[in-house]
Symmetry: C2
Subunit: 101 residues, 2 copies
DNA sequence: AAAATCTATCGTATATTTGCGATAAACAAT
DNA sequence: ATTGTTTATCGCAAATATACGATAGATTTT
């Protein structure tokens, strides 16, 4: 991909909002987050049981949600407990709200 | 890409929310929408002047926003006037709001 | 020590996204 | 009729996303 200018500078809020939105841009990830909102927390395996995708695919979606900052995982051997990242969740909520006015 | 099951059925709201989120998942498109929120409407050329991308690239982003239902274009020869799609905008606002509770 | 459980990561294949320049299409003005 | 203006679309290239099976790593249980 070629870019005409080195790096366009959007505002930080714009970048952040786009990053959150991108992470939400897949029905599986929306579903995972809705599940987490209800359950408060869950293990990867719970989602594998619920969603019709392979373990590796679910794991990848979780990774993306984690990279976007929307969830966090605590090691709880041999499992990993995933929860919503409350702090960033609030930021996302605020950014979307103010975006839509 | 292989899919293990023919078609997963998410709820309509989940599908719709993901579709909106995906369209919002790029800083340029966020910027375009913020511009439209302020200006209420604009022409493609206005955005080409403001954003550091080629006319064809801007046009493509507008197409995606239109496909997602977030904006609409009225022909106003030889220009095209783009506005926020108020009805769908309200739906998006509601879906995001209830998603974040 | 061996087996079982759980999850991340690697490698691979395919689809989609993002960007550009060039061109086409639609209309207005000359 | 020709020219200019505006925008969409085509064709291309590179990057990213999505899915899978196989495997590796960590820890518990036996």
């Amino acid at each position: 991909m070629k870019r005409s200018l080195e790096h366009i500078q959007y505002t930080d809020d714009t970048e952040t909002l786009a990053r959150f939105a991108k992470a939400l841009g897949h029905p599986t990830r929306i579903t995972i987050l809705q599940y987490l909102e209800k359950q408060s927390c869950c293990f990867t395996g719970d989602l594998v049981d619920v969603l019709p995708f392979s373990q590796s695919t679910i794991s990848q979606h979780l990774k993306e949600l984690k990279n976007a900052g929307l969830i966090q995982g605590e090691v709880n051997p041999p499992k990993i407990k995933y929860c919503i990242h409350q702090e960033n969740w609030k930021i996302a909520k605020r950014l979307f709200k103010s975006f839509f006015e």
